[in-house]
Symmetry: C2
Subunit: 125 residues, 2 copies
């Protein structure tokens, strides 16, 4: 698969794909004789993983560490498991915070609905 095919499929710009590779989120992408990247299904799956984790707020630095551990082989299985567990915990924390904020927004919107219904009474902020 060429970079533009992967770009379309994963909805990530070619520049970002090259950037991810450069910073170590995608190692040893195959090249054609002419030096052009030739992504495998495996690569795509990994890119999807990165995309998913990035959108959940995991930093490039953390993902870089994860794949660096990966390259060191089986003996880092536990370390990788712990890294993921740590990030999972943080994610759960963010999730709970967001849930609270969602409730707060719902409440605020309901206050607005009341103010609008009752002849435009103003609120504090």
């Amino acid at each position: 698969m060429t970079i533009s095919e992967v770009s379309k499929r994963c909805n990530i710009s070619p520049d970002t794909l090259r950037y991810y590779e450069k910073v170590g989120l995608l190692s040893d992408v195959n090249r054609t004789a002419g030096g052009i990247r030739d992504y495998t299904e495996q690569d795509c799956a990994q890119i999807e993983f990165v995309k998913c984790m990035r959108s959940a707020g995991l930093s490039i630095e953390i993902l870089r560490k994860y794949f660096e551990l990966f390259k060191r082989g089986k003996r880092t299985l536990k370390a990788r498991r712990e890294l993921l567990a740590t990030e999972r915990k943080a994610l759960q924390g963010r999730l709970e915070e967001l849930q609270d904020t969602l409730k707060r927004l719902d409440y605020k919107i309901s206050v607005y609905d009341k103010a609008i219904a009752s002849k435009d009474k103003e609120l504090k902020f």
Copy 2:
């Protein structure tokens, strides 16, 4: 309240408080005769609101717009309500995405646990 008191109470640096004020997330903070900021409880509540919304991913720009509408008075009640509703929707979307990612992380961690238990079999990434 001085800036350092608010800073401690809200756990936001004085620099950030001044920055928020400068970009319009906090208008007309009182000053002492000597020109020093003197925050009210109201100001604090607003700062907490900003902090909460920021941590939920609302941009400074969106919050700036919200408070700008606020300054224009009662006739912007509906517009503010709509702005909040839009952000609420986006937040809910992010929340759902994060929930999926949490599940994915849980699954991946369980795969690691299996690999670690079964004599260190390696995974794909």
